[in-house]
Symmetry: C2
Subunit: 138 residues, 2 copies
DNA sequence: GTAAAAATATTGACTTAGTCCATTTTTGAC
DNA sequence: GTCAAAAATGGACTAAGTCAATATTTTTAC
């Protein structure tokens, strides 16, 4: 991983212990919830306020350092794998989330047939299914 | 629209005034939130409990009569256009949601390159962009 | 290195979307 | 019409996240 300090500076952000710890936590738990990340940060630097976690995550998503995915029926998840146009495959039963490379392979990998005058920025794809473990149980 | 009563019976559900009104409300406001639907139902049959709205919507989604979409940063939306594999285009600025026919045209229109042993049931696509009105304002 | 300004963090109340549960009412089958 | 099962009601509750005032830290300018 790039040094978190320079990563922040490069995006014009102040370097704070909280933000560095949040970056580390996202790297450590990919597809983690805000809460997972808060827990992970606490175990690293002792304590952090809920608000600081949300602020940091929000700012970092805004600057394009992190990506937020928000699947139906789940709190938002965060990941640091960005810019490669990958998608997500989520288990309906247990919520397990894995990365999936884009089926087509380039960005944007999809084109809407009729865009209603919208300017389309991004195509987000979520595959829903059942993971091997949950399939065995059923 | 199919008669709501038979639609419910066909799916093995009891026919109640609340469910019929919910079906009508979803037809009347496509891409409405649970709250929009509750309001619409109230104006039709006078009153309904919040719980009945959630129960009805949940059951109907489960039976495949309605579809739930849950975009980031928005409460769940419901629609009755199902089975044609269409997708959604949402304005980041104002939240306006429109239907988009599948770019490829058949179900499932996408195939994950590596499915990690998952059984994939559905590919959900959300296009994010800016609608013509919001684009003019910016 | 210091001080002022700007940015960020803390705390705690608050909001929104939705769930849980005990009770009452309605529905469908005989 | 009766009765069991299904659904609706009402109200408390929870989870995820936002707001806003204050305190602290970081950055910038000297």
């Amino acid at each position: 991983m790039t040094d978190p300090g320079s990563l922040l500076r490069d995006h014009g952000l102040s370097v704070t212990a909280q933000r560095i710890a949040v970056l580390r936590a996202v790297a450590a738990c990919p597809h983690g919830t805000a809460d997972d990340i808060a827990e992970s940060v606490k175990s690293e630097i002792g304590s952090i306020s809920k608000q600081a976690v949300y602020n940091a995550l929000g700012t970092l998503v805004e600057k394009g350092v992190l990506r937020r995915i928000q699947p139906a029926g789940s709190p938002a998840l965060f990941e640091n794998r960005i810019g490669d146009n990958h998608h997500h495959l989520i288990c309906r039963a247990c919520g397990k989330t894995v990365d999936i490379d884009c089926a087509v392979g380039k960005t944007p990998c999809l084109h809407a047939s009729h865009h209603h005058g919208f300017h389309i920025e991004e195509a987000e794809v979520i595959y829903w299914g059942t993971c091997p473990e949950c399939r065995t149980q059923a």
